[in-house]
Structures are given as structure tokens and as C-alpha cells.
């Protein structure tokens, strides 16, 4: 099996055994849950090519970013970096630290990935436009450049329930809509007042905004009105009736947060859920791996996309997949060809399938066939949330409707005052969010 796994992608590479003989690549990742799976893949890669890949993990994300920042300054970067897709990769590209691989990634390579993420890491027209202001994070990139290939895909806004706690409250199937979800929260909280709430790492300021409010607003209002919430028009922004309506829906969660959710990091919230301190956990497709690391079996988890309001504009809203992490080559790499071989090896279907099993995460590679048998039933359930049309799919990677200097953390701070902190009413929160958004527009040059 290992031989088959190893040989398939190599054939796709068009490489041959020993082409990089004796060379050593270094790679950094910020995902502890990816480390073992990557090292397993590296063993196979070494057998085939003779190229050793040394992989190290540094976390959490902020510490990793700081390490990359420092290493870039001291010219001490590894050959390959796992980065946040369509974010860090473009920032590194804009400053010349990431290698432009647009000319090397042909359709034979990008075709290995899921359709929705095949161009991830590329400077599209939209991304180029976003990069133009001098204070843009990605300032300096050029249209058509590519600074990463996708590695893992997935989405945010995945709700996970503890099947045992849910069954105790009489819940055996995922809620069909937002109202049912709120009713389910009420049931679990009534059954277990201290351990029946929702865990969400609200200490990380934008989680409530980006993982719950935004997909909820998209479902309730539809794409155009959702995007208008972040626009300049005061008749359609967060202080408008539309804005207040979605904030009101979000505020319905107020009684059901796990005690102290606002003081929990994302990992802390997931750990609390795994320890039975909460009946529900809101995260992403990547959360299951962490839960498993913390002793929870995937089969004990009921997973589904954040439900949409039944009377909303998009009642069957899908959550669009996006490349969550990508692989970037440092421009200082002395072995860029070998680095590309390694990246392409990881994109191979069987290598990716093995990675999915080892890491309990969704690879960006199109696995084809029966994903449930490859990744397990719970992970496959999560992937059902991807199914939708362009009109009914909430795409978290779209940002061009927001001001270029938009800061989601500041927005998250304002939203936290609505719930879970209960410091502001829906109207006050709507006004404050609209005011902050307008200030971003005012300062966008």
C-alpha cells in the first residue's frame, strides 16, 4: 500500500527516483495536527526520491507568524512553509519572500485540487485591486503571480454536537433551520445548565463575527444585501433594518453560550467541548482533528453546517470551501525544484487520502469516489455543507465588498458587546458597527 501511495504522485510529478538525491528540504507548519501526517508523507517521499524533508511545527498561529517574520528578516526561512491561504502567502509574495510559482504550476498540477480551490494563492484581478492601497497587507503583488498551492481545504461555521449530550436532551438529528437550532440549544441547556451550552473561542475576537454572524446574515439576507451590510449606504448597513434583523437573530444565542466562552481561545473552547463542558462547539472542518487529539472520537460528534433561517433569502445556504492552508516556497530556498516536487507529491490523490486519515483534516486535493470511506462519516458529513450553487453558497474568501483597511478584530470587539457580554442592545450594536465600518471607508486611500 505504501509503495502504491508513494508511486502514484511521483508519476504525476514526472520525476524519477533519486532526482534530488541526498538533498534535504526543510518545512515549517503552524498546525500541530498536521505534523505527524506530514512526516509520514515525508518518509514515502524519501523512499522515492532520496530527498529528506525535515518538518517542524510552531504554534499557535500568532507565534508562527512572528517566527516567520523574524526568520524572513534574518534570511533563515525554511524551503517550504505552510501558510494561511490567500493571506500570508500573498503578503510574503508582495515583499519578495515567497517565490512566484505561477509559471511552474500547470493545469496538470492545479487540476489535482478541488475545483473551488484550484487557483488559491494566485493574484487574481480582485486580489490585485485589494493590494493597490499603500497600507494594504498585500501591497506589491502583481496580477497573475502565484505564491502558494492549496494544501488543506474546508470552511468555517461548522457546528459540532456531543451526540451523547444531544441524545440526553432528545436530539437525534441535526436541526433543519436556525429556529430549530435555537430550540435545540434551549433543550440541551435545560437538560444540563452548566454543560449544555455552546463553546466558541470568543477570546479570539473575530470568531463570533466570521463563523456565525456572517454565514447567518448571508442566509437571511442573500448575497447582495449581506454584502451591503459592509457598504457605505446607511440604508443597508448594520444600522439598517436588515442589519438589525440579523443582529437580532445572532443575539438569540445569548442565553446558550458556555459559561466563560468569551475568555476561551479557539483551542480552549474545543478542549472544553471535548471534556464535556459544552454540548455544542462551533468551529470549522479543521476542528475535528483537534477534538480527536483531545480524546474525542469523531463518531461521537454530530457535525453540520450552521443552520439558515427557514424564512431567509437563502434557506438552503451552503458553506463554500476555501483553501485554508497552502504551501509556499521561500525565495531564499536553495532547492526550489525539490520543494516543488514535494508540494506536488502532497497533492497526489493517494498521498492526500492518507494525509486525510492521519490528520483527520480535509485535503485540498480532489479525492474522488466515496469520501466517507476515505475520511470517515463525520468528516464526510461536514463536506455536505459544500454542496450549493454560486448563488446559495456563502464564500468566506470574498472580501472585495469591504473597505481595504477593514479590521475584523475591531468589528468583533463591538459585536461581543451584544453577545455574549450583553453590554449593548441590538440597535446600539448596529449603530456602533456601522460607525466603525464607515471609519474604515473613510481611511481607505
Amino acid at each position: 500500500m505504501a509503495t502504491v501511495v508513494a508511486l502514484t504522485p511521483l508519476a504525476a510529478c514526472g520525476g524519477s527516483s533519486g532526482s534530488g538525491g541526498g538533498d534535504t528540504l526543510t518545512m515549517w507548519t503552524f498546525k500541530q495536527s498536521h505534523l505527524a501526517a506530514l512526516r509520514n508523507a515525508a518518509v514515502q517521499f524519501k523512499k522515492q526520491t532520496g530527498i529528506t524533508v525535515k518538518i517542524d511545527a510552531y504554534g499557535p498561529d500568532d507565534a508562527y507568524t512572528t517566527k516567520v517574520q523574524a526568520a524572513a528578516k534574518t534570511h533563515d526561512l525554511p524551503d517550504v512553509l505552510e501558510v494561511h491561504s490567500d493571506g500570508e502567502d500573498l503578503v510574503l509574495g508582495g515583499t519578495g519572500i515567497a517565490k512566484d510559482i505561477a509559471g511552474d504550476v500547470g493545469s496538470d498540477w492545479s487540476g489535482l485540487y478541488q475545483k473551488g480551490v484550484q487557483t488559491s494563492g494566485t493574484v487574481t484581478d480582485e486580489k490585485y485591486k485589494e493590494s493597490l492601497p499603500g497600507d494594504s497587507k498585500t501591497h506589491g503583488v502583481q496580477k497573475g503571480q502565484r505564491f502558494s498551492v492549496p494544501f488543506t481545504a474546508g470552511t468555517f461555521g461548522i457546528v459540532m454536537g456531543n451526540k451523547q449530550k444531544l441524545a440526553a436532551a432528545g436530539i437525534t438529528k441535526p436541526p433543519a433551520n436556525w429556529a430549530e437550532f435555537i430550540a435545540d440549544l434551549k433543550a440541551t441547556k435545560a437538560k444540563d445548565p452548566t454543560g449544555g451550552g455552546v463553546a466558541l473561542g470568543l477570546k479570539v475576537k473575530a470568531t463570533g463575527l466570521t463563523w456565525v454572524l456572517q454565514p447567518l446574515a448571508f442566509a437571511d439576507l442573500g448575497k447582495d444585501k449581506y454584502q451591503a451590510l459592509f457598504g457605505k449606504d446607511s440604508s443597508a448597513d448594520f444600522s439598517s433594518p436588515d442589519g438589525l434583523k440579523v443582529l437580532g437573530l445572532y443575539d438569540q444565542m445569548q442565553p446558550y453560550w458556555m459559561p466563560g466562552a468569551q475568555t476561551q481561545e479557539i483551542d480552549g473552547a474545543d478542549q472544553a467541548f471535548a471534556q464535556g463542558k459544552a454540548a455544542w462547539d462551533i468551529g470549522g472542518t479543521f476542528t475535528l482533528a483537534f477534538l480527536q487529539q483531545n480524546g474525542m472520537k469523531p463518531d461521537d460528534v454530530m457535525a453540520f453546517g450552521l443552520p439558515a433561517p427557514a424564512d431567509g433569502a437563502v434557506p438552503q445556504r451552503a458553506l463554500g470551501p476555501l483553501a485554508l492552508t497552502g504551501l509556499t516556497i521561500a525565495s531564499t530556498s536553495k532547492h526550489p525544484d525539490n520543494a516543488e516536487k514535494w508540494m506536488k507529491f502532497l497533492a497526489g490523490q493517494q498521498v492526500a487520502a492518507q494525509f486525510a486519515k492521519d490528520a483527520t483534516d480535509v485535503p485540498a486535493t480532489e479525492l474522488g469516489g466515496d469520501t466517507a470511506s476515505v475520511m470517515g462519516a463525520t468528516l464526510a458529513d461536514m463536506l455536505k455543507t459544500f454542496n450549493g450553487t454560486p448563488d446559495t453558497t456563502y464564500d468566506p474568501s470574498l472580501n472585495d465588498f469591504r473597505p481595504p483597511t477593514y479590521d475584523q478584530d475591531s468589528m468583533g470587539d463591538v459585536l461581543a458587546d451584544l453577545t455574549p457580554l450583553g453590554q449593548k442592545s441590538v440597535e446600539q450594536t448596529g449603530k456602533a458597527m456601522a460607525k466603525l465600518d464607515n471609519s474604515f471607508w473613510a481611511t481607505s486611500k
Binding site: 507568524t65 524572513a72 497600507d135 497587507k137 466563560g260 475591531s410 461581543a416 471609519s439
Partner: protein, 336 residues
């Protein structure tokens, strides 16, 4: 060292041998002068060699980094781009009033910082001075007690702040103790750091907990230098324990109070590690302080080019600290 006349010089200065003027540097006097000059040269050289490492260290680690940071405050940079974009004083203007995305956050953080700057020095003095007085009057186990009270200082660090987090959680030790003591109504269901009304006061208490040991030790040192006769004279004049401490001891340790206040003011103004570890400015931004805001601008903005803003905020904090130090010096000078 001797005060006896030096024969060589006396001989050299003896009159009558020659009245002709000698060129400088000739003869015994000249040789002695030359020797002295050479010795002074060696001394100066060895002196310079001794201080050279410190000077080099200061030039590299101090002057260079300070200069670098100051220049950065006039630029826009994300930490690794090859070039800085010069923006003049725009960073300062943005932070103080010009940019509605930054200025309100800075003002909000400044308000929290002001609360901390008022509460922490005040509470530290209020706790540490009586504690030092009690410890000074303890007849037994003074060393043990001093060590016990000093524990918070030597154990302060990331691990302790994490421990505080657990203690302050909804199911933490503080709430459990309150419930056990029948004061469950005072317990915080969202945790002491989860309630926006208790989060900042709780952070102030944790900061004071970490500041009291050093302050107490300083007071204890001061108390032990007070002449016993002064206190005995007060006793003879009929002053009780309370009056003696309030009217005699307290004024005598006022310089120490000034130092304690200055150190804690500075720490409250610039410190942010406790806040970063325990609250990250939350819940919401109810415990955001200026030091943390500078850190956030530097490292927590997803690689946005805001290092210049962070540096500018750092220099504003430095200016505020300088003003405080000058005020403190002035107060010290007028009272001592």
C-alpha cells in the same frame, strides 16, 4: 599613599645647581612628568578598555535599537518588506486623532491604562506599607514570613498568569470559595475575567499581587534604617502604635513611597504581558491597555504594515513615562 616630601622632586627643584632654564621634558623633573603622563595615558587607555564592552553594547543594543525604533515611528512597514515607506508624523497623527480606525481604540486603551495607573500604585502602597510594618514588628519567623510574602515576585511569569486564569474561571477556585463560604451571590457565572465590569478590576488585583513583594521589601529596608531613638521619643511623647506609624514612620519612608509609586506608574503605563496572557484585551476590548495595543499593532495584525504605528505608540508611552519621571523627581526634591 603618602604625605611625606618626595626626595626626587625636592632634589630636582633644589636651587643653585643651575639657573639656566631647561627645556621641558629634560632632567629629573621632566622625566618624572613624562612618567606621570605616560602612567596617566595607560590609566586612561585601560579605563577605556574596561568600559569599551559596555559602550559597544550600549551603542549596538541601546543607541542603535532606540534610533531604529524612533525612525520606524515615521514609517510604514510590515516587519520584513525590503523598504520602509516614509509617512512623516502621520503615524502619530493617526494614533492621536486623525484615523478613526486607530484613535478611538487608543483613547479607549488610554482610559483603561489610566485606571490601572491610578489603582495599581495606590493599592500597592496601601497593601505593602502596612504589611512591611507588621513584618518589621514580627518577633518570630520574620525571615520565613518575608520569604513567603516575596513568593509572588519570584514566581511571577507566564505559568502563574495561566494559573490565575484557571482560578478566575467560572468553575475556578475563587467562585468555588465564595460558594463554600455562603457568598455564592458574589460569584461570577461568566468568570471574573468574563464579566466586563469585573475584568479590569480583577486584572488590577492580579497586577498588585505581583507588585506588592518588591514594594514591601523596599519599605522593610526603609523601616529597618529608622533610628530606634526616634520611635522611642515618640513613645515617650505619648504616641501610640497607630500615631507613631502615621506621624513618624510614614513621613520618614516617603522617599520610598515615591519610588514605589514611580516604579508602579511606569509598569502600569508600559506593561502588558499580564493582559496579553490573561485577557488579550477582552472580553471585547474592556481590558485593552496602551502597551497591549502597541503589541497588537506590531504583531497581531496579520502582517499588516503597522509596525510604524506600534513604534509611534511606544514613543508616546515613553514621552508620558518621561513626564511622570520628571514630576516624580520634582516632588521628591521638594519633600526631601
Amino acid at each position: 599613599m603618602t604625605t611625606a616630601p618626595r626626595p626626587a622632586v625636592a632634589e630636582a627643584t633644589g636651587a643653585g645647581r643651575s639657573t639656566a632654564p631647561r627645556p621641558p621634558g629634560t632632567g629629573l623633573l621632566g622625566r618624572a612628568t613624562r612618567r606621570t603622563g605616560r602612567r596617566r595615558g595607560y590609566e586612561a587607555l585601560s579605563g577605556w578598555l574596561f568600559v569599551l564592552p559596555a559602550v559597544a553594547l550600549f551603542l549596538v543594543m541601546g543607541l542603535y535599537t532606540v534610533g531604529y525604533g524612533f525612525l520606524l515611528s515615521f514609517a510604514r512597514w510590515n516587519g520584513f518588506a525590503p523598504h520602509w515607506d516614509w509617512v512623516g508624523v502621520q503615524n502619530y497623527k493617526d494614533l492621536l486623532w486623525a484615523n478613526p480606525a486607530y484613535a478611538p481604540r487608543v483613547r479607549h486603551a488610554a482610559t483603561h491604562t489610566l485606571y490601572v495607573m491610578i489603582a495599581v500604585p495606590l493599592l500597592t502602597v496601601l497593601v505593602s506599607f502596612p504589611l512591611a510594618v507588621l513584618l518589621n514588628s514580627a518577633r518570630r519567623m520574620q525571615t520565613l514570613l518575608r520569604s513567603v510574602y516575596f513568593v509572588p515576585y519570584v514566581t511571577s511569569g507566564i505559568a502563574v498568569f495561566f494559573a490565575w486564569q484557571y482560578i478566575l474561571q467560572p468553575d475556578g477556585a475563587v467562585n468555588a470559595a465564595l460558594k463554600t463560604l455562603g457568598m455564592g451571590s458574589l460569584a461570577q457565572p461568566q468568570g471574573w475575567l468574563g464579566n466586563p465590569h469585573t475584568a479590569l478590576p480583577t486584572m488590577i488585583v492580579v497586577t498588585v499581587w505581583g507588585a506588592v513583594p518588591v514594594a514591601m521589601l523596599m519599605y522593610l529596608t526603609g523601616l529597618q534604617t529608622i533610628d530606634r531613638s526616634v520611635l522611642e521619643a515618640a513613645e515617650l511623647d505619648g504616641a501610640g502604635w497607630w500615631r507613631a506609624n502615621a506621624s513618624v514612620v510614614w513621613p520618614l519612608v516617603r522617599p520610598i513611597t515615591a519610588i514605589v509609586v514611580l516604579l508602579n506608574l511606569r509598569d502600569s503605563l508600559q506593561g502588558f504581558q499580564t493582559f496579553l496572557v490573561m485577557t488579550n484585551g477582552g472580553p471585547g476590548d474592556h481590558t485593552n491597555v496602551l502597551g497591549l495595543e502597541a503589541y497588537r499593532l506590531a504583531f497581531l495584525k496579520d502582517l499588516a504594515p503597522t509596525l510604524g504605528l506600534a513604534s509611534a505608540l511606544g514613543w508616546l508611552l515613553f514621552a508620558a513615562a518621561l513626564v511622570l519621571a520628571l514630576i516624580n523627581l520634582r516632588v521628591l526634591r521638594s519633600r526631601t
